[in-house]
Amino acid sequence: MKIFNRLSIPIVFLGVLLSYLNPYLSILIAYPIVLSLLRRFKILKDFDEFQLKMESEGYFYGFIVFFIMAILFFMEGKMNRDQIMSILLFPLLVKALTLALSTMDRRKGILSISWAMCLILITFSLLSHGFTVEGIIEILPPIFLVILSYIAIRFRFVGLVHFGIGVYLMNLYLSRMKGYGMFITMILLVLPIFSIGILSLREEE
């Protein structure tokens, strides 16, 4: 099993080299992250609990370095505002969702995620369309989502509606978008809706 870990550096190095031939081959750089995911889901059992803790800690410091690098890239003009905002906001969103799912009680978690998502979507709509009819139409779904979330607090089974919406959106965007755009849509829309669904269906002791 340790062989998987030992291969990390050569495979990442190979990914960097091969990315000059074809950008898609840079996916090899993700090899250590795939290993971590397999460990997280207990498919790969080559690390004990202390090693897993240290690996998480490594990711925490890696996350900080990543943020500093991204900000420096932006300051040096290597990335535009949209790119930098996406790169900084989406990992933060995933972190916030993880915390909400694991540390908040059902009601607080549902409300926090719904309101945060609603405000982000409304901000995006107003920034891109302003106070036009199109802009106002676009802010209706997030408001509907918040209303649905309030209902989900009262009726647990409404979480299934969230799952249904999540699956519908996932199907819709997977067929219409690809690459970066599709990934962002999944994180911004589908992941929070599934999270609300999970929280809604969760039974509190």
């Binding site: 004990d48 609990e49 202390f50 090693q51 803790k53």
Partner: protein
């Protein structure tokens, strides 16, 4: 928290390597527990106590400061 793992392990004449393999962790993990740098999960603490044939409270002693 006072950690008596090292003393009890040495009393039982078990090496760090042996203990690590018996409870399914690396030697480095045992070293870090003994030094107090890592607090094991309840499951690992129970496994260690079973291998060393003692109680968890004998290995890890709660002190007043730990109660915050």
């Amino acid at each position: 928290m006072k950690i008596k793992l090292k003393e009890i392990r040495e009393e039982r004449k078990i090496t760090q390597e042996k203990l690590a393999s018996l409870v399914g962790v690396t030697r480095q993990t045992i070293i870090n527990i003994e030094k107090g740098k890592y607090k094991p999960t309840v499951l690992l603490a129970l496994k260690i106590s079973r291998v060393l044939n003692c109680r968890v409270e004998d290995l890890f002693i709660l002190e007043e400061d730990d109660m915050g």
